[in-house]
Symmetry: C2
Amino acid sequence: MAGLDLKRLGELGLIEAVRRRAQSSRAAGAWLKGIGDDAAVLRPRAGCDLVVTSDALIEDVHFRWRTTDAGSLGRKALAVNLSDVAAMGARPLGFLLAWGLPEDARPEAVEGVLGGLLAQARAAGCPLVGGDTVRAPAWMLTVTAFGEVARGRALLRSGAKPGDRVLVSGDIGGSALGLAALESGAAARPGLAPFVRRHLRPAPPWRSGPLLARARFVHAAIDLSDGLLRDLGHVAEESGVRLRLDVERLPLARGLRARAAELGLDPLGLALAGGEDYELALCVAARAPGVNELARRFQCRLTEIGVVERGRGVVCQRADVSFEPASYPFEHFKPVYDRSEK
Amino acid sequence: MAGLDLKRLGELGLIEAVRRRAQSSRAAGAWLKGIGDDAAVLRPRAGCDLVVTSDALIEDVHFRWRTTDAGSLGRKALAVNLSDVAAMGARPLGFLLAWGLPEDARPEAVEGVLGGLLAQARAAGCPLVGGDTVRAPAWMLTVTAFGEVARGRALLRSGAKPGDRVLVSGDIGGSALGLAALESGAAARPGLAPFVRRHLRPAPPWRSGPLLARARFVHAAIDLSDGLLRDLGHVAEESGVRLRLDVERLPLARGLRARAAELGLDPLGLALAGGEDYELALCVAARAPGVNELARRFQCRLTEIGVVERGRGVVCQRADVSFEPASYPFEHFKPVYDRSEK
């Protein structure tokens, strides 16, 4: 891989190189104009609403070059946005990339990040349509993603109702363990590679988004980025309800208990407060089909983890003890200014 | 002004404070959901296309705290995006803010930037609808702006035709002089304040965007951000034409010649290559009304500065000498990786 050398290419040369590479990820139809004008032009489909979301990844805050490869980083920068798009019940349409690069950015890193972004873009049918290329003191990757959803069918955090069942896709806690392994220098220990990979290359169930929006019995959705408790706390707050979780039913990532114990970490803490799972949490009507039927319909693994009640906040239940998560002893996961400070 | 103290508020507290302040700038109608979900939800108007654009401002690359106030910076972060929206012929609809703040960001700076952004948002009817708040090693403000334009009427860089007349709005060169004054420590000298202000608080003619899109005789448009020559070079390239500019007709900012001379700068250099004018350049059909009638119709000052010919690139003409801008001796404006390195 030759790399993209900023000093040789200059800003315009880099933009031109991006434009050439992005051609292959161009969508037909929806975008009348992609890279190469003052703005991209989208023709919305009749009968659809649009969802728009921005997420930024910052060097040494959200990632470290010492522990990630450029391709994974590029994939992740788009994936975390696809996760938000899916949580709205939307189909990805395209994205803008505003990236800041240090003057001495390694050409292989620039090429690798772009390659990862465009590979994820092709996989999701979500073309790069524009953005901004600037110099910055550290790497910053701000992706703005667009999605479409049938008119009035966007899934909000505010739709949960008492009596609803709470579901979560895939498994949780693994990304936080992977991060802990990376940060503590233990990533090379046996059995930790899948968790590290999970952290560096999240694979949100973005295909499930539009399937969720079709089902009238899905009342609310959110993506799990900041940790299950905090994210479900948003659903509780916005819906004006309480969520009661059975912590014994949480779908912990496979091998999480054993590997977490080896690092001296509480697996339940990782699952409840760890963050960066990029799974979906749903509140569905009591009358909705069983979890296996829903998993088939939404094309993702699903686990039922709790119920929606009248009240406020999120409470956890284990056997017949219920407790407020605020009192749960994960001081190393105490809410901090930025989630990546964990 | 009490300020927004990150250490006291935390990330969620800051987001909540932003959400409260943004209420007053919320648009009715178009946005079904603003701040407070995984994504914002836009209902596109029937018969309209959407334009989307991202521009980032980075500390010590695009601005310095030593020379800007927080309110101006906030205004500028949105204004530079409104400029792109207008250049597409679109009306602003709303924006996302992905901002990175150092841990020790001054509360007054956070409050001031947000205040400036929201003041500009109210003025332009362009509400803040979402984004991302992250920690970063330096300030970064990435704004993604949305606009709407009648179906098929977006103004592209690629529509210029031989025979068209080239127009520019407002005046040019002033922002570059203001930047030079700030960077050389001469900003306090008599007569330089208007140029400094022009640099710190650009006022793009965003109201003109939708008026341009209505006129069938406007063939191409671009906003002037990187310098007249470079920006018109994009029009020439995308349209497959040559632009011939009469440099004696350029609308230099008032007082530019005298003040530039005092700083040892070439006023024509500032106007041709200076950048950050945030004016509009247009290519209109030869048969279009005269420049005064166009100025009235588009509600902005306009000057005719050249013509479109068959050929490639941009050529400048002064009296009966024409020259290639590449050979024009502005070595201090030599194209560099990032425009703010000038």
